[in-house]
């Protein structure tokens, strides 16, 4: 539900720190291109995400409108028309379709194609509002592919900015929110823009159901005071408000036949995600609800192959979505 008719909200999901510059560049370029087309625009980062934590899911935003933006200081894009995802595992960890406007567009950086991405979205309540899904592989199309340690489609800051024009080209083709010509006035890499525009794979969502967009009506009534003393998780318990499994792009997979139960991973895990359940018949397990895929466990493991990293997208299960 938009706060204003004609308001187009674009949300960019990205990985904290490693892709922050990429996301900001996308948001600023989209807003600047919109301004060239005579629209009123804004570009900003989500203010409540924690962008200084490596790989944390974060959001940047752009807003475009043919009339002045009536509510310029709303902290989030609550009803995006277009969502750009700079790293495909975010589809598994986050509700990227939250608040999506009917007829929405999703653009994903991945080499797995749109059908595989659609499969990851099947449990999301707004899937019927998604009209078009576009994928483009920024890592492989035009660039040397330089992983910064883990992950698909995510590359280090030196090369990731070269991916911006390609993603912008794909965004323009899939959404039509700004024209490729307007983007060419902002981004110097015209080759990249055209590459993204021409090579993005488009898929119309078969489950799309058209509906009329609605405009938000403010709730009536007055607020009351709140109590600062609230329940907290018990010691040893899990904090449901700080689920971190959606940081993970590579998952630690344990070969129990090779594991010697030396507990090096258990003592080294910075998030206490390695579990050793019992005194007898002990087995090492990973708490995937909180494991960030940081790689410390498979780095410290003294037995070759006892813990190995596997791309998270190879696994359909263990979806832990954050609620925000």
């Amino acid at each position: 539900m938009a706060t204003q008719a004609n308001l187009i909200e674009v949300t960019i999901w990205f990985r904290g720190v490693t892709e922050a510059r990429l996301a900001r560049r996308l948001a600023n370029a989209i807003a600047s291109a919109g301004a060239r087309e005579g629209k009123f625009v804004q570009a900003f980062d989500n203010y409540a995400d924690s962008p200084d934590r490596i790989d944390v899911p974060c959001r940047s935003y752009a807003r475009l409108c043919v009339e002045p933006i009536a509510e310029p200081y709303i902290y989030e894009n609550h009803s995006p028309s277009v969502v750009i995802v700079t790293e495909a595992t975010l589809l598994k960890g986050c509700n990227v379709l939250k608040g999506l406007e009917p007829g929405g567009v999703l653009v994903v950086n991945t080499n797995r194609g749109p059908e595989a991405m659609l499969a990851l979205l099947q449990d999301l309540p707004n899937l019927h509002r998604l009209k078009t899904l576009a994928t483009i592989e920024v890592g492989n199309v035009a660039l040397p592919y330089v992983p910064y340690g883990a992950g698909e489609g995510a590359v280090d800051t030196a090369t990731q900015l070269k991916g911006a024009p390609i993603l912008l080209g794909a965004f323009s083709r899939a959404s039509g929110v700004v024209s490729i010509e307007s983007l060419k006035a902002i981004e110097r890499d015209h080759h990249g823009l055209e590459l993204g525009y021409n090579e993005t794979e488009l898929l119309e969502n078969p489950g799309y159901i058209p509906e009329e967009p609605t405009v938000e009506v403010l709730a009536e009534g007055y607020r009351s005071k709140v109590d600062l003393v609230i329940p907290a998780p018990a010691p040893g318990g899990e904090n449901e408000d700080m689920i971190t499994g959606n940081y993970r792009q590579q998952r630690p997979v344990i070969d129990l036949g090779k594991c010697t139960l030396c507990r090096m991973c258990w003592i080294s895990c910075p998030d206490s995600c390695i579990e050793v359940p019992g005194r007898s018949g002990e087995r090492i397990a990973v708490n995937l609800k909180y494991c960030k895929g940081c790689g410390v466990c498979w780095s410290v493991c003294p037995v070759e192959g006892a813990i190995r990293p596997e791309p998270e997208l190879n696994y359909a299960g263990d979806v832990v979505r954050i609620t925000y």
Partner: protein
Amino acid sequence: MPRKVRIAGAKATAEAVKAANVDVICSYPIRPYTGTMIELARMVADGELDAEFVHGEGEHAQLSVVLGASAAGARVFTGTSGVGATYAFELYSPIAGEFHPVQCMIANRTLDPPGDFGSEHTDALSARDQGWLMGWAASPQEAYDNTLIYYRLGEDPRVMLPQFPCQDGYFISHISGEVELADSDQVEEFLPPFNPRNKLDPRQPVLMGPQCRADQGAAIELGRAEAMVRAREVIPSVIADFNRVFGRNYSPFLQEYMTEDADMVFFGQGAHTVPARLAAERLRKDGLKVGVVQLRFMRPFPTDEVAEALSRFKVVGVLEISNSFGAVYDSGPVTAEVLSALYYAPAQPKVLTFLGGLGGENIRLADYYEMARAMKAAADAERLKKRVFWLGFEPLHVA
């Protein structure tokens, strides 16, 4: 040639600090102002700005470092937000009292509790009585411009006072807007090099701010008070000079919007005056003649200008983005100043206070409409039963 870029207020400030060619910067991270320091650190590392970049171990250290550097004759920059601004508080009085024209940006953040990042002006306004120049930007461009204006004002030999250029956290610091970056010739013309009368120099030792006798205290403070009075006198010519060099159109103290035929006005500082303008435009369709008056300087407070400007209207609605618990009429620091200024004004408008945007909350367009309707009701009422309201917590019934 000046060039236009799309950047947020935090980065715009860093660009202005670079343009001002500062000598010493002292940092300590706290959101939302951190974006400025990240950018300055990058500029120094990349060789774009030749400055000493010192990492303080806290805000108290930050302000201590820039005090010393300023005393040695350096143009200095530091900044903070929220509880960082209160942790540094001890240094504010010595810096002003010893006439070091330090610049400390504040990107506003709510004090704890609740520990959120949102903009509320209480952090900066808590330090309003220390002898620092203080005012709010309402756009990234104004944040950029204020940085240069405040250096010029603060380093003026008639003033020599430190400065708090403020910008609302997130609303200004984190939302990109179009900013015209100055040309070096413009900056050179507007901002002369910092040249204090006294500098700390081992070849000519002096003491700055030594322990003084009890009977010297009031005399020292009188000097600070007179500097603030002179700042008020200097501001119009500095703003005129700035407008001339940079092609802007700032009023020295009060930026008015749609006030010519207005019966009532929103009065406030910083970001929240921007949606107020759109509300004022749209309210004309409902026959409500609403204008907006943006206060550009809280210190020195433009007493005569406020008295003269606000006495033209029937009702003034103060947007109070800050707390002063137990203040006059249980309002807030801006209302207290407005009411005081109006006491000797040619005519007294009715003054309403809307405590809103607290904890960094957004004031919605519908809220502005509701406030305007309350101001209209106040204009029509013979007597007011209630004048101070917590926006969103109670009906705005004035009579």
